[in-house]
């Protein structure tokens, strides 16, 4: 029994609101929480198999060239070492999100320093690592291009757009901003390193892997191995964070599968932290020129946003920096520019809200500059520029909550009552800043099977993943709500590619896509129950394991009378995708203190208000926002991939030197979630909240630094060396 729904029309029924179990939207604890904190949840590398071998990858130590030879024989003679493998099927690059086919393969052609070039397999991990470290490789090196160069960058026609005359608008404007902002590369830095354990039974492959999107990952892996997708099964029941880095398969998955086939034994391959930095996706550094033209009242008459990003040759992905610039603010004269420099650096791909994370941040710093230039309060400036229609194509918005979140966040933060007294406390200079958040919203084709058992328990099955986001919780909640069951009577089985194919986790679409498919299956089951009760589905009330219709309440188990009801729900994006502009909105407010002696910045407090349609779980949604804001702190203050200027390699390739914010960097963060229903989005009226919390967050901090010190940092992160030259001289000679 399959129910398919294409999202061609807005769904204004708000069916979830007609349910009475009262569990959707609450901050229900994760059902998987106890397993995770007690170590019972099996992540990819936890699923160790008796007799399995261990593989350790070897990296290229040149930025460009060809692998000429390696002394495999010497390494294979080491104790425990079984084989040194390399060749055409090994991945050169990790796969991009939704690639659905193998990425660039072939370990012998070298395109970046750190590229995996071989796998050493041994009886133990230690023996394999030793072998990998002992492998002597000869290269023929070629001249590499390791620094993004605007002069030779590609300028794809499809990624440029221009409306009106921005130059004329700039000339005529009462207030203008024309500045360049730069952001460095970032690494997702998920806690769980990428890992895979591969097992073959005949020609059938099973891989326990750290993957976000199994439907695509199966095809990527099968294509990479040259086998049929139906011979591949991927298991990812738990994923220790992905943040984009596990959207597509990465080199260890293919390497483990190839080694297991060759050696006829299960093989586990886990990347070291250093290899995660070198061989999985980086976010491209960006160089962004932003022009703003405004009239005397602060109303934008023009916006220009031109970005330069980088990637390897052969890679289609380029950081979509200007994705939200198209619709966030009005202004009739617009220029969007996008250039891609080709470099021999680690592959660039999706990392934590690709596009908006860095693009909205830069735009929101520019908006603050405009607020300063025009003397208009920055919140008011944004209010004055909220467009009625998508300014890029005059489409209506599915919903537009920017004004609401600005008002809510400003009130929660106390923006309208600035602190009294001296801005300076001892050595510390205090300041406040704000920014808007915006992120595009979408769903992907997604299926789930829901089984209602005769004992009144229910099971959800889908290949959807929980990457720490709370999928287990929200899917259980949707079923519990729709079928009127206590949530502990619902279970979800996730992360198995043999289960109905979902959209997977990524692009903030997972909860809405998988959640809608579960909702559709539950609607079908409700119709079946209604039939058993001889009533219409709309007249059926399900609560606490009972069915109520025609003033009769019966135990659901009695109604089922031994019947098992199974339904598959399938959602697919449709005409609502193009008919309206769908987006989520938010606002950040931050208070910082900057040490006037050293230039160290300490965030004192930060608030975010967000609107993302129906909130499915108040606790996990809030956690997503806290995580996003924390990454915003990292973007503003600490995080930076440092590339060596000569060979492009990432020098700070561990968590000691790649500075994620630590607890001491993160003060009290508060989050408000505005309740909303977006009928255009999907049948559960929810929108993606996974990434919204980072999209512009760093700008609130950068703008607060300006408020405190008068220093405008345009080259992120705002490390102390960028503030020192602008701080008051303390040298009293």
């Amino acid at each position: 029994m399959t129910v398919h729904h294409k999202m061609d029309e807005p769904d204004r029924r708000n069916r979830l609101d007609a349910m009475v179990q009262g569990i959707v939207g609450t901050g229900m604890d994760r059902p998987d929480g106890p397993d995770k904190v007690t170590g019972r949840a099996t992540y990819a590398h936890d699923g160790q198999i008796d007799g399995m071998l261990h593989g350790v990858m070897v990296r290229s130590t040149v930025a460009k060239g060809r692998l000429e030879s390696m002394d495999a024989t010497a390494v294979e003679a080491l104790p425990g070492v079984r084989r040194v493998l390399h060749g055409d099927r090994f991945l050169r690059n990790p796969a991009q999100g939704t690639a659905n086919e193998a990425p660039v393969q072939g370990s012998d052609d070298i395109a970046y320093f750190g590229q995996p070039i071989a796998l050493v397999v041994a009886d133990t991990f230690e023996q394999a690592r030793h072998g990998a470290q002992m492998l002597h490789v000869l290269y023929s090196a070629l001249l590499a291009n390791v620094t993004p160069d605007g002069a030779t960058a590609e300028k794809p026609e499809a990624k440029q757009s221009s409306t009106g005359d921005l130059d004329a608008a700039m000339d005529a404007a009462a207030h203008t901003v024309d500045q360049t902002y730069t952001t460095p590369g970032h690494n997702s830095a998920a806690m769980e390193p990428h890992a895979a354990i591969a097992t073959w039974e005949g020609d059938a492959l099973t891989v326990r892997a750290a993957c976000q999107m199994l439907k695509y990952n199966v095809n990527e892996l099968a294509d990479a191995l040259g086998i049929a997708p139906d011979r591949v099964r991927i298991l990812s029941p738990f994923v220790g964070g992905g943040f984009g880095s596990k959207l597509g398969i990465s080199p260890e998955t293919v390497a483990a599968a190839l080694a297991a086939r060759t050696l006829e034994r299960p093989v586990a391959v886990a990347l070291s932290r250093q290899q995660v930095f070198e061989a999985t996706m980086r976010r491209s550094e960006t160089h962004q020129r932003i022009r703003l033209a405004a009239d005397a009242g602060g109303r934008l008459t023009g916006i220009g946003h031109e970005a330069l990003v980088s990637n390897l040759e052969d890679e289609e992905f380029s950081e979509p920096v200007t994705q939200a610039t198209a619709f966030l603010y009005g202004g009739e004269n617009r220029v969007i520019g996008h250039r891609i420099a080709r470099v021999n650096r680690t592959c660039a791909g999706s990392v934590r809200a690709p596009g908006e994370a860095v693009g909205v941040t830069a735009l929101e710093i520019a908006m603050d500059e405009l607020a300063v230039a025009s003397g208009i309060d920055p919140v008011e400036l944004r209010r004055r520029n909220i467009p009625d229609l998508d300014p890029s194509d005059d489409r209506p918005f599915s919903s537009h909550m920017l004004r609401a979140v600005l008002d809510d966040a400003a009130a929660a933060f106390g923006w309208d009552t600035p602190p009294q007294g001296d801005k300076r406390q001892g050595e510390w200079l205090k300041g406040r800043g704000m920014s808007s958040a915006a992120r595009v919203n979408t769903i992907g084709k997604s299926s789930a099977r829901v089984t209602l058992n005769p004992d009144g328990t229910a099971l959800v099955e889908t290949d959807m993943t929980d990457i720490g986001t709370g999928t287990y919780a929200i899917l259980n909640q949707i079923v519990a709500e729709m079928l009127g069951l206590p949530p502990e009577r619902v279970q979800s089985r996730l992360g198995d590619s043999d289960l109905p194919a979902s959209a997977g986790s990524g692009g903030s679409w997972g909860a809405s896509s998988a959640g809608s498919s579960v909702f559709l299956a539950c609607e079908k089951i409700r119709q079946n129950i209604a039939a058993l009760c001889s009533c219409e589905e709309e007249a059926l009330t399900l609560k606490d394991g009972t069915a109520i219709s025609d003033n009769r309440q019966r135990a659901l188990t009695d109604v089922l009378a031994g019947t098992t009801i199974v339904a598959v729900g399938q959602i697919e994006p449709g005409k609502t995708k193009k008919a309206v502009r769908q987006a989520t909105f938010g606002a950040f407010f931050a208070e910082v203190a900057i040490n006037a002696v050293t230039g160290e910045t300490r965030l004192r407090r930060m608030h975010g208000s967000f609107a993302a349609g129906r909130i499915l779980n108040a606790k996990t949604a809030r956690s997503q926002c806290l995580g996003g804001m924390t990454f915003g702190i990292g973007m503003a203050l600490t995080e930076e991939l440092i590339h060596d200027p000569r060979d492009g390699h990432i020098v700070n390739r561990d968590l000691a030197e790649y500075h994620l914010p630590v607890n001491a960097d993160v003060p009290q963060l508060t989050v408000n979630l505005l309740d909303e229903r977006d009928p255009w989005a999907n049948p559960i009226q929810s929108k993606g909240i996974g990434e919204l919390g980072i999209c512009g967050a760093g700008a609130a901090i950068i703008n607060a630094i300006h408020d405190a010190t008068g220093i405008r940092v345009r080259d992120l992160p705002a490390t102390l060396d960028k503030l020192l030259p602008g701080l008051e001289d303390i040298d009293a000679r």
């Binding site: 470290q133 050293t598 440092i642 303390i730 040298d731």
Partner: protein, 327 residues
């Protein structure tokens, strides 16, 4: 990580003998094990000294004898240290994390290796790791690197916070060498500058074992440790200042200074301290001390900011210590 032999030492003499025979000492292992996994350090034999009786903290003629195996946590929490040498407790707590401090030992902390990115990556030439191969840090990423005491062969910094405080306090390092011969080396003389032999980092000879650090009796005045870094915790110092100042009748009667994050060893410059003695505290005086300290400073592209940063941090630290009432 290469295969290695592992032994436990039952007595100090065992350890010293094994050491003389080429073994590498392991205590907390918080630095050594990481570097072995990275193939940066390749010991063939490890001698584990954690069973030795080197965990005592005892009075030493009014000073404090700190056994080499006293953990950073225990040392930072010790009431005598917190009362009489607070700079040391502050420095310890500014370093690493709680978990690391529980394992890291006093002797091991002194001997931790540089965080230079290029030292930590075996694909990179490094004169410290592989003498004669060259210094790839020069011309590379140099945020962590030295502005004083470096050479054309090496610009790495010593990463310890603890050792900076101990250098300021003029601690001594008690060493047992071959034949159970004991000696004490002032910490200020314990580390070597790189010159053209950056792989030689200390005056320790084969067979030498650090058994204790001796703090001299507490000095008068006020002391503090100020560490400036790229995030609020869990980062190595960009610059740090350990300082003691004694003011009598508005004249500086005693001054000791040491600096971290800027040099191949905890940096001590007697001239900068001497300049302060007998003078009335003032920002101008402290600026002159900074001038003396930084007279020979040289910077790379990536660490030039350390020169103004150190100047400012020193002036602010001394100004704060000389206030009538601390802020």
């Amino acid at each position: 990580m290469r295969p290695f032999e592992y032994q436990r030492a039952a007595a100090t003499t065992d350890a010293a003998a094994a050491c003389a025979d080429g073994a590498t000492i392991i205590a907390g292992g918080t630095n050594l094990l990481d570097l072995m996994k990275l193939d940066v350090m390749r010991p063939e034999r490890l001698i584990d000294i954690t069973r030795l009786d080197l965990r005592a903290m005892t009075d030493a003629d009014g000073g404090l004898r700190i056994g080499a195996l006293v953990t950073n946590s225990d040392l930072a929490a010790d009431m005598r240290v917190r009362r009489d040498w607070p700079v040391l407790a502050q420095a310890l707590l500014a370093g690493a994390s709680g978990q690391l401090r529980n394992k890291a030992t006093t002797g091991g902390n002194l001997l931790q290796r540089t965080r230079c990115y290029y030292f930590q990556d075996t694909a990179m030439p490094c004169n410290k790791r592989d003498p004669g191969s060259g210094c790839q840090a020069i011309g590379g990423a140099t945020r962590l690197h030295a502005i004083l005491g470096s050479s054309d062969s090496c610009i790495a910094t010593h990463p310890s916070d603890m050792a900076v405080a101990m250098t300021m306090l003029d601690a001594g390092v008690q060493i047992v060498g071959k034949g159970d011969r004991a000696r004490t080396v002032p910490l200020r003389d314990f580390y070597c500058l790189p010159g053209d032999t950056p792989h030689i980092e200390t005056v320790l000879e084969p067979g030498d074992l650090i058994t204790a650090v001796i703090l001299p009796p507490p000095s008068a005045g006020r002391q503090t440790y100020r560490k400036v870094r790229d995030r609020a915790s869990y980062a190595f110092a960009l610059v740090s200042v350990a300082a003691r100042i004694e003011v009598v009748d508005n004249r500086i009667a005693g001054a000791d200074l040491a600096f971290g994050g800027i040099a191949p060893r905890p940096w001590h410059d007697p001239a900068a301290c001497d300049l302060l003695l007998g003078e009335a505290p003032s920002p101008a005086l402290f600026s002159r001390a900074a001038d003396v300290l930084l007279a020979d400073a040289t910077a790379q592209d990536g660490n030039a900011f350390k020169i103004p940063l150190l100047r400012r941090t020193l002036i602010a630290t001394l100004t704060d210590l000389c206030r009538e009432t601390p802020q």
